[in-house]
Symmetry: C2
Subunit: 373 residues, 2 copies
C-alpha cells in the first residue's frame, strides 16, 4: 500500500467514519477504520455493528486529492489515525506500508509509524439494501423532521422501541412519531408517491445522520426489513432497526378541545426559562393559569418560587389551571419553529396539544402532571 491523500478531504472522511466508532467495542478490529485503496478510490469503512458507515474519496482528474502508487488495504486504530491526521500540517499526507501491517504516515520532516491490523480481520459488512424503492428527501426537510421529533424519544432502555423514531408510510403520506410515553412529537410529510413501511430507527443513530448531512442537498433513504440506509455524496450510513412494535400514538391526541390559547412563542420560552432552575427531584414543573386576561406562570420548590405573567394573543374557553414539565414545554415550543404557538386543552388531566396556526403537519403533545399548590 502506498498512496498520498489530501489532508483536508481525508480528515473530513475520518470525522464521518468516527461517528460509527465505539471505543469499547468487544471486537478489536471495530476500534479501527478499514482503509481500502484501489487505483482510483480510497474507501473508509467503520462500524460498531449497529451503525455502519462507508465513505469513498475519489481520484478526481486534475486534482491532488488522491495519488495511488500501490493498492492495498489495512485496519488502523480510528483514534490514532484521527490524531495523526490532525497533527500533520501539510496539504498532502503519505501512507506507505513499511513491513507487514506497519504503516508509515508522513509529511515533510514528520514521520509517524503505526501498527495496523490485516484487513481480513474486519467483519464483512453488507452495504446492499434489498429494496427496489428508495426515496429522496431534501436535507432541509430531513433535518427538520429530526429536529421536530427526535428530542421526544425516551433516553431510557426500559422500553427500547421508545428510544427510536417511528417512520410509517401509508399511501403518499409519511408519519413520523417519537414518544417517551409522557410526550409525543408527531410530524406528517407529503410524499411524491405511494410508499409502505413501518420502521423504528434508534434516535442516537438518526442524530449521527443528521450531523453528517449538513452541506448535502439531499439524502436518499433505502429501507429493508433489517435496516435503513442513508445515501449522500459518496457516503452511506446504515443502522439497524428496533424490533418491537411502536405504540399506536394516534389515539393519544384528543379529538376535541375545551380551551384554545394563542401565545407568542418567544414570550412563552422566556417565562419558562425564568422557572427552569426551580427543581424538585431534578424536575422543573410549571403551573399555567390561563384566562382571557393573560397567562400566569408559577413554579416552586421548597426553597424558592416564581410568580410571573405574560399577555396572550387570544384565549377561548373557561379559565384553566394546568401543570406540566417546563423542559417538555420548552422543547415542544422550540420544535414548532413558529412565531406563535396554539395550545389546546381538554381538561386539567388531559394532554396539552401544541400546534402551529394553520399547519396540521406538526403536533406536539405533553402529558400534564398533578400539583398540589
Amino acid at each position: 500500500m502506498n498512496f498520498k491523500i489530501a489532508r483536508r478531504e481525508f480528515l473530513n472522511a475520518l470525522n464521518l467514519s468516527n461517528r460509527a466508532i465505539s471505543s469499547n467495542s468487544p471486537l478489536p478490529s471495530l476500534t479501527g477504520v478499514k482503509i481500502v485503496v484501489s487505483a482510483d478510490t480510497l474507501t473508509l469503512i467503520s462500524s460498531d455493528s449497529n451503525i455502519s458507515i462507508r465513505t469513498v474519496i475519489e481520484n478526481k482528474d486534475d486534482s491532488n486529492t488522491l495519488i495511488v502508487e500501490e493498492e492495498g488495504e489495512i485496519i488502523i486504530d480510528a483514534k490514532y489515525l484521527s490524531d495523526i491526521t490532525r497533527k500533520l500540517d501539510d496539504d498532502l499526507i503519505s501512507f506507505e506500508t513499511v513491513d507487514g501491517t506497519l504503516i508509515r504516515i508522513s509529511t515533510g520532516h514528520s514521520e509517524y509509524r503505526i501498527n495496523g491490523m490485516r484487513a481480513f480481520e474486519y467483519p464483512d459488512i453488507n452495504f446492499e439494501v434489498n429494496t427496489t424503492d428508495p426515496f429522496e428527501l431534501e436535507t432541509s426537510l430531513f433535518s427538520e423532521i429530526i429536529e421536530q421529533t427526535a428530542f421526544a424519544c425516551s433516553d431510557k432502555d426500559i422500553r427500547p422501541v421508545l428510544t427510536g423514531v417511528n417512520f410509517r408510510a401509508e399511501g403518499s403520506k409519511l408519519y413520523v412519531n417519537a414518544t417517551d410515553s409522557y410526550r409525543l412529537a408527531s410530524k406528517t410529510i407529503d410524499l411524491d408517491r405511494e410508499l409502505r413501511f413501518n420502521i423504528t430507527v434508534p434516535a442516537k443513530y438518526l442524530m449521527e445522520v443528521y450531523h453528517s448531512i449538513t452541506g448535502e442537498k439531499s439524502v436518499t433513504i433505502a429501507i429493508d426489513s433489517q435496516k435503513i440506509a442513508f445515501l449522500f455524496g459518496n457516503s452511506i450510513i446504515q443502522t439497524r432497526l428496533l424490533d418491537d412494535a411502536f405504540p399506536d400514538t394516534s389515539r393519544l391526541i384528543p379529538d376535541h378541545f375545551t380551551q384554545t390559547l394563542v401565545v407568542n412563542s418567544r414570550k412563552l420560552l422566556n417565562i419558562v426559562d425564568r422557572c427552569s432552575f426551580i427543581k424538585s427531584d431534578g424536575k422543573n414543573i410549571v403551573k399555567l393559569s390561563i384566562n382571557g386576561d393573560g397567562m400566569q406562570v408559577n413554579s416552586l420548590n421548597q426553597a424558592v418560587s416564581l410568580n410571573d405573567g405574560i399577555d396572550i394573543i387570544s384565549f377561548e374557553g373557561e379559565p384553566i389551571e394546568i401543570s406540566c414539565s417546563g423542559k417538555y414545554l420548552e422543547d415542544a415550543v422550540k420544535a414548532l419553529k413558529s412565531e406563535e404557538v396554539v395550545m389546546c386543552f381538554s381538561g386539567e388531566l388531559r394532554p396539552i396539544i401544541l400546534k402551529k396556526e394553520g399547519d396540521d403537519h406538526i403536533t406536539q403533545l405533553i402529558s400534564p402532571v398533578r400539583t398540589y399548590h
Copy 2:
C-alpha cells in the same frame, strides 16, 4: 430590608462572591452569600472558610446603582441568588423582606420569593490584616507572575505545601517559586522598596484572584502570619496560607551547563504538540536528540511512534540525547512568553533549564526521565 439595585453591577458582584462558595460546605450558612445593606452601600460576603471575599456596591450620586428604602441584612443561597439575578431581565431589581427571612426579588411581572437565613448565623470573618506594610503590583505584572509559575504546582495533596506558590521577599527582591518536585517555575521581581516575608499561597485560590482582577489597574497585597489579602476596587479576597516550609529550590538549578540550545518557541511547541497524543500510562514522553545540525524529536508507545525534526537557531556543546515530559516542556516554553527559548543542559540525567535570552527574571526547570529506546 428594602432596596433596588442595578442588575448588571449586582450580577458582577455575585460572580465575584461565588468564587468563594463551595457547594458542599459543612456549614449551611456558607452555601449562601451574606448581604448587608446600609444607607449608602450593599456589601456581599462569601467564604468557604479558606478563601473569603468581600465586595461593596456603593450608592453613587446621580446613578441608579443602589436605592435603599430600608437597611437590613440576610443570607441567601448563592446558587439560587445567581440564578434569579441572571433570569430577571430588567435593569433594576427590587429586594424586599416579605416576612422574617422570606425575601421577594422582583422586576415588573416577575416575582421570585426565597427563604433566606438570619445574618447572625453567618460566621464572623475578619477582613482586617495585621500589617503596616501592604504593597501594590500592577495587574499585568501580578497576572504574569501567576501565569508563569502557578501551573508548576502539584495537583496532589501528598505534600500540601507543593500545591501552593511560594512568595519570598528579601531586600527589594520578590522571589516566586512553584514546584511539583518534577519541575520548577521560578520568577524574580524587582520591588520598589525592601520587604521581608516568606509565605506559600494555595494555587487554586491564587487562580481565583487572577480571574477576579481582570479589568483592574492594580492589586494591593497585604500579608500577615495567618493570611494574604488582595485588595482591588471595592473588593477584598483573602486566603489562608500553607503552613509547611517551602523547599529550598535555589540549589536545584545547576550553576554550569555543558550544552546550550536556542530554538524558536513556536516550532518547538508545534513539534511537542505533534507528539502529545502518544501516551503510555497517561504520560507523553519526548526524546530530544540535539546536535549542531538540528533537533530530532522522538516519541513512542506500544502502538505508534513519531520521528520529527526541527531546525535550531544555535547549539553549543557535545551532541546530547535527553527525554522529558512533553506536557512539562510545553508548559515551560509557553510560560516563558518569548519568541525564542534558551535550553541549557548539564547531562542526560540532570535538570533541563529553560530561559529567555538576556532575561534572568524567569527560569523554568524540568527533570529529565530515563527512556529505553
